[in-house]
């Protein structure tokens, strides 16, 4: 907890209650009227310097009133031997008002200065330095006096001013939602499909002409059936599966929700695409063809995946 916290009358009420332990019902902020604090002249700044009248409201268990003498904290005493200074980076030079910088003072020094109970000047928060007196109002129950605030512009703080977002998206699974189904249209929230394998010209000969003719980003939601058959054969061989072309019938979609069963995407491999498509990150290749497909659970696989075909355009 800071040096001083709460509303500026809270410490006074707490002090009264602490020093009057015999009071069965304690004072609070709502059931009593606290008069405007009056200066009580004393020879020493550390003596009691303030008088107020506390009057019981009807809602309290008490009647009547009592005049109290207590001590408000003199800012000049509090900051004796010390400059009250703020160094702060202001991105866009703007007028700094007490409402803007008094909270910064409180945060730095552990105080609870109430901006409505003081007067302090505005200044233009640019690269200039300023000195502004903070003058406590007579209405403050806790503070009196005046203290100079020394303001200067600080360097831009990386953590506070520059990199304001520390919560990053971070790494993603290669066939995560953002890759295949960014809208979540098909409800696909799949696990990693183990079909990450490098293919070469020799592995799927039927696709290679298609690959090599593409040098820019192309998106397709379907794939020619002859290529599809070649691809199924290749996948079944590589992963010891028995997927049939009939189960991926594209046009009448007999398996329900998986309307798009196969497609391809040509992409140049740039830093952005490598980041967006984590599978497409093979060092040395300049382009990739991503074949994506969806199958059904009865084939023993999870239900989506990519096959990358790397090449140099």
């Amino acid at each position: 907890m800071p040096l001083y916290a709460g509303k500026d009358i809270d410490l006074l009420i707490a002090a009264i209650n602490r020093d009057n332990p015999a009071m069965t019902w304690k004072l609070n902020a709502t059931d009593f009227i606290y008069s405007k604090p009056a200066v009580y002249e004393v020879p020493n700044v550390l003596d009691h310097n303030t008088q107020i009248r506390v009057t019981a409201k009807e809602s309290s268990p008490y009647r009547g009133n009592v005049i109290l003498t207590y001590r408000r904290l003199d800012l000049a005493v509090l900051f004796r031997s010390q400059k009250l200074e703020l160094k702060r980076f202001v991105k866009d030079a703007t007028w700094m008002t007490p409402a803007t910088y008094i909270p910064l003072v409180n945060q730095k020094y552990g105080l609870n200065l109430d901006v409505t109970k003081l007067t302090a000047g505005n200044f233009y928060g640019g690269w200039q330095s300023y000195t502004r007196p903070i003058v406590m109002s007579e209405l403050s129950y806790q503070y009196v006096g005046t203290i100079n605030l020394y303001w200067s512009q600080d360097l831009e703080e990386l953590g506070l001013d520059v990199l304001t977002q520390g919560e990053l998206d971070g790494a993603k699974w290669p066939n995560g939602v953002s890759v295949f189904d960014p809208e979540g249209t098909y409800g696909l929230r799949n696990e990693f499909l183990p079909l990450y394998r490098d293919y070469t010209e020799e592995s799927i000969t039927g696709l290679w002409p298609l690959v090599t003719t593409q040098t820019s980003f192309v998106w397709s939601t379907s794939i020619p059936s002859y290529l599809f058959k070649d691809l199924l054969t290749e996948i079944n061989t590589a992963y010891s599966l028995g997927m049939k072309f009939e189960d991926f019938h594209v046009t009448d979609n007999p398996k329900g929700i998986y309307g798009r069963t196969m497609g391809y995407r040509f992409m140049p491999l740039t830093p952005a695409t490598r980041l967006a498509y984590p599978l497409a990150n093979r060092v040395g290749a300049t382009h990739v063809l991503l074949l994506w497909f969806v199958n059904h659970p009865e084939f023993g696989l999870t239900n989506m995946g990519y096959l990358p075909f790397y090449y140099n355009a």
């Binding site: 907890m1 800071p2 040096l3 410490l11 006074l12 707490a14 002090a15 009264i16 602490r18 020093d19 009057n20 015999a22 009071m23 069965t24 019902w25 004072l27 020493n44 700044v45 550390l46 009691h48 506390v54 009057t55 019981a56 009807e58 309290s60 268990p61 008490y62 009647r63 009547g64 009133n65 009592v66 005049i67 109290l68 003498t69 207590y70 001590r71 408000r72 904290l73 005493v77 509090l78 900051f79 004796r80 031997s81 010390q82 400059k83 009250l84 200074e85 730095k108 020094y109 552990g110 806790q142």
Partner: protein, 295 residues
């Protein structure tokens, strides 16, 4: 005739008001008990409801002889005619005399124990109920009775709030020699760069490498106080010296401590008692540094 003063004084004031410049007082006259006019010997002489005899009193006597006076005593029930009676807040009185102060406070009627009977109140355990205030036959000013609803409350604040000079709004250090507070100076300082050396300092006298670490931290981090170049560890130095300081706490920051919540650890240090500038206890704050070398 005021209802704010005691009954006997009220009657004497009434007498003086119509007999100027004669000034009688409770010390030089006495009043007999009051008598009802109705049905008595003066029933045909006055429309007032009360008669009484004024006789000299005191030593030496100021007056001689006696005088019969006629006046009206006030019927307590009439109170409701000029002011609506609302519930009376009183701290669970057991009898009428226990609530006379509350009646005076809330209704501005000063009744004394000589004016009203000390009948019991009719309250439940919570202090809610009624009370009937009944004038004594001997009251110089009052006749009749009135019944109030009673609610709990009405404690006289001045009887409970007796310490009227609370002193608990404290500076971090009350020191007539200086007033400057090490706690205020140290509050904004971030001693995280010294974390490893601070964390191993044990409670007790600050000495050796611990003293050197704190001294270096203060000289480096304190840029806004007079002590920014003056902190020292000189034996016997009366200003800005850490020599003889003691560590009273070193560990995790806690909400109960008067510390900066932005930090994980604090080390509490109490400066030597005869130090003049600054003085008192202060906390140096530090956290675990982030491991940037792994980046």
């Amino acid at each position: 005739m005021s209802v704010f003063i005691n009954s006997k004084q009220a009657v004497i004031d009434y007498i003086n008001a119509v007999n100027a410049p004669v000034r009688i007082t409770p010390t030089n006259v006495k009043l007999s008990k009051p008598y009802e006019v109705s049905g008595g010997r003066y029933a045909t002489q006055t429309l007032k409801n009360t008669w009484s005899i004024v006789e000299p009193d005191g030593t030496p006597l100021t007056f001689r002889g006696r005088k019969v006076i006629f006046y009206n005593r006030l019927d307590l029930a009439d109170f409701a005619r000029f002011r609506p009676v609302r519930p009376l807040k009183a701290p669970k009185p057991t009898s009428v005399h226990g609530m006379l102060a509350a009646i005076q406070y809330y209704f501005a009627i000063k009744l004394s124990v000589d004016d009203v009977e000390d009948d019991p109140t009719n309250l439940d355990v919570d202090g809610v109920g009624t009370v009937t205030v009944r004038a004594k036959a001997t009251s110089p000013l009052w006749i009749g009775s009135i019944t109030f609803d009673v609610l709990p409350g009405g404690l006289p604040l001045e009887e409970y709030l007796t310490n009227i000079t609370p002193d608990q709004i404290k500076y971090p250090i009350d020191n007539f020699k200086t007033g400057s507070s090490a706690a205020v100076i140290a509050y904004p300082l971030d001693a995280t760069p010294y974390r490893d050396n601070l964390l191993i300092i044990e409670e007790g006298l600050l000495h050796g490498t611990g003293l050197a670490t704190v001294l270096e931290a203060m000289l480096t981090l304190d840029t806004s106080s007079d002590g920014k170049t003056l902190w020292n560890s000189s034996v016997g130095s009366l200003t800005w010296s850490l020599e003889g300081a003691t560590v009273f706490y070193n560990g995790l920051n806690e909400a109960a401590l008067p510390t900066n919540p932005a930090f994980k650890y604090v080390i509490g240090i109490e400066l030597r008692g005869d130090l003049t500038i600054p003085s008192g206890r202060f906390y140096l704050h530090y956290s675990d540094p982030e491991d940037a070398s792994a980046a």
